[in-house]
Amino acid sequence: MKPSTRSRYYGVLAEFESPAALVAAARATHAAGYRKYDAYSPFPIEELADAMHDHKNPIPKIVFFAGLTGACVGFGMQVYANLIHYPMNIAGRPLYAWPMFIPITFECTVAFAAFTGVLAMLALNGLPRPHHPLFGVPRFSQASQSRFFLCIESSDPKFELEAVHKFLEGLKPMEIHDVEDE
């Protein structure tokens, strides 16, 4: 019957005024040993990834291999069409006219790479996700406008409501909000 803090709260959210304050807070949070936390800002902040030690990014690799697949599919399709499926002799010109296959191969490379990359970005980000516990905090609407937020999540093994509150207050935020889980 007694709900644990872990299930009642998604986390604790602190609001900051500037990107620099948020970066400093993220650094401190990481240093304090928290791992399940995230920062929110209306625009990408260059220093933040570094502060959060968020270096893993598989997107470039995914895009590269998707492009490679696109190239093979594009070129293979044309070779198959012209040599195997329907060889057509046009004034004795070679069937395997590879220079003529380059434009479509290129377009297929770009198309595969671009679409796979965007879908991978959305999938890794867990989007689309129309609702999220954070949207329950009214102030959070500022995260897309002019304020900067840091949320320590309850899934962090170190998460203790009191301690997290105390820790975040030490970072001198403008406000602290509890984020309830739904």
Partner: protein, 468 residues
């Protein structure tokens, strides 16, 4: 003093004009740009503009209906000139579209900060221009309802694949990839701004619609990290893509053997022409928009000047190509090529050639003057000349080359008919209708990217700009 959001003009080293007006904060940028959509409402001026554009768009639909009812015989195309207005307009529109990708992708890779405020707008222009462009070759098929024959698909005829050795088929792949990748690039750029719109919307309906399209974006740093990498990669992919599209469009001509088309310098010549026409169109649209919506803080005189400079540079590249075209004709020592040059300059269509030279080579020379480059009226007038000139260029390349080729017995003339003109002018209505809707419904300047121009946005402890 801790980092403040107060503004200091972020001045680019090459010029004293700032890329964003003074006094802006993170909040003020959002307020100003989103207010155009959320607070300004539907104004009388917008309704009038949209109404006119919509009527012209309806004229296009009427023209297409009659075309489909009667067949392509209603156009001016004939046995001699099989590629008339439709291919001219196709190349013209798709060229216009290229400036959008250039601004959004190439200038991003080159770290040109001034691109930020015109990027969204120019990308929208790309999409709408490509939509207009794609109509023409499809309608030119004669039986546009069979347009899907152009794509490989399994069918009962046993012919699963189109002819991949034809440049026209390359066009199908190039244009469809370009249109779809541009759309995705544009949409990815919009996601964070749609989230801002969702959070600023005041009523349930608006909030829901923007919320739906924002995909639940919440600005997480981990999300931004992946977002930025894919955005940059899309820019990297779009850059060769945009060059490939007009290269392939030029192959439609260059791979043939028609005198005046069969030239190896067509790809760079066409790409330069596309960028030239595109920047002229961005100027044509950005100048009135910035005036009507009071966006002088975001689209500053620096933007206009830079666009003027690119117009001047690409215009001179195009001018060089015109001279080379004449030179090649002479140097080929080929009777047909030499006749083509003669016929182009002194033949029955000489007046178009003269107009082309005036619009595309002489008019942009005014841009050498700094005073003219920084004057919106002058730029607007010059951009109009360029748009007309680039249309004439395609007219001269297509019609004048085709109407007199190898055999004098096959010579003829060509002129657009009423239905050619209504369709062409109608696509301008289509374009403007989409543009009016875009301005009314979406933030026309990227808010998150504009915020990044403010000092301190990189998150560095001191004044942000010093670090990089």
């Amino acid at each position: 003093m801790a980092v403040s959001n107060e503004f200091e003009p972020s001045v680019s080293p090459t010029s004293r004009l700032p890329v964003i007006g003074p006094g802006h904060t993170y909040a003020s940028i959002n307020e100003k740009i989103s207010a155009i959509v959320l607070l300004r409402g539907t104004t009388f001026g917008w309704l009038v503009g949209f109404g006119i554009a919509f009527m012209i768009f309806m004229m296009m639909l009427g023209s297409i209906s009659y075309l489909i009812y009667k067949g392509v015989g209603v156009w001016g195309i004939n046995n001699r000139v099989g590629w008339g207005f439709d291919i001219i307009n196709f190349v013209w529109w798709i060229g216009i579209g290229h400036a959008g990708t250039l601004i959004s992708a190439i200038l991003l890779l080159l770290h040109q900060k001034w691109r930020t405020s015109i990027n969204r707008f120019a990308e929208a222009m790309t999409l709408f221009a490509v939509a207009c462009a794609a109509l023409f070759p499809v309608l030119h098929l004669g039986r546009p309802w069979y347009a899907y024959f152009l794509f490989p698909y399994p069918n009962t005829m046993g012919m699963y694949f189109p002819q991949f050795r034809s440049p026209l088929e390359w066009d199908v792949f190039a244009v469809s990839t370009y249109a779809s990748v541009s759309l995705v690039f544009w949409y990815v750029g919009l996601i964070p701004d749609l989230a801002t719109m969702r959070d600023r919307a005041r009523n349930w309906f608006t909030k829901t619609v923007y919320g739906f399209f924002s995909l639940g974006w919440r600005g997480s740093a981990r999300h931004w990290h992946r977002y930025e990498s894919i955005y940059l990669l899309l820019a990297g992919l779009s850059t060769p893509l945009v060059l490939s599209v007009h290269t392939i469009v030029s192959f439609d001509f260059a791979v043939s053997i028609i005198p005046g088309w069969h030239a190896t310098f067509f790809p760079p010549y066409f790409v330069a022409g596309a960028i030239y026409a595109g920047f002229a169109m961005v100027l044509t649209l950005a100048i009135p928009v910035r005036w009507v919506y009071g966006l002088e803080d975001f689209i500053t005189d620096k933007h206009l000047e830079n666009m003027g400079l690119i117009t001047l540079v690409t215009g001179n590249m195009v001018g060089y190509a015109y001279i080379m075209e004449l030179f090649y004709g002479w140097y080929s020592a080929n009777e047909y090529e030499q006749f083509m040059v003669h016929n182009r300059v002194l033949g029955p269509y000489w007046a178009l050639y003269v107009a082309l030279i005036v619009c595309n080579i002489i008019a942009p020379q005014l841009l050498w003057s700094k005073r003219i480059r920084r004057n919106a009226w002058w730029l607007f007038a010059i951009s109009m000349f360029v748009s007309v000139g680039m249309w004439l260029e395609r007219y001269v390349i297509i019609v004048v080359s085709l109407h007199r080729t190898f055999l004098p017995s096959g010579w003829g003339t060509y002129a657009g008919t009423f239905w050619d003109w209504t369709l062409y002018i109608g696509t301008m209505g289509f374009f403007l209708t989409l543009l009016f809707l875009f301005i009314r419904l979406l933030p026309m300047i990227s808010m998150s990217e504009m915020q990044m121009l403010l000092p301190g946005a990189s998150g560095a402890p001191q004044k942000g700009e010093a670090k990089s």
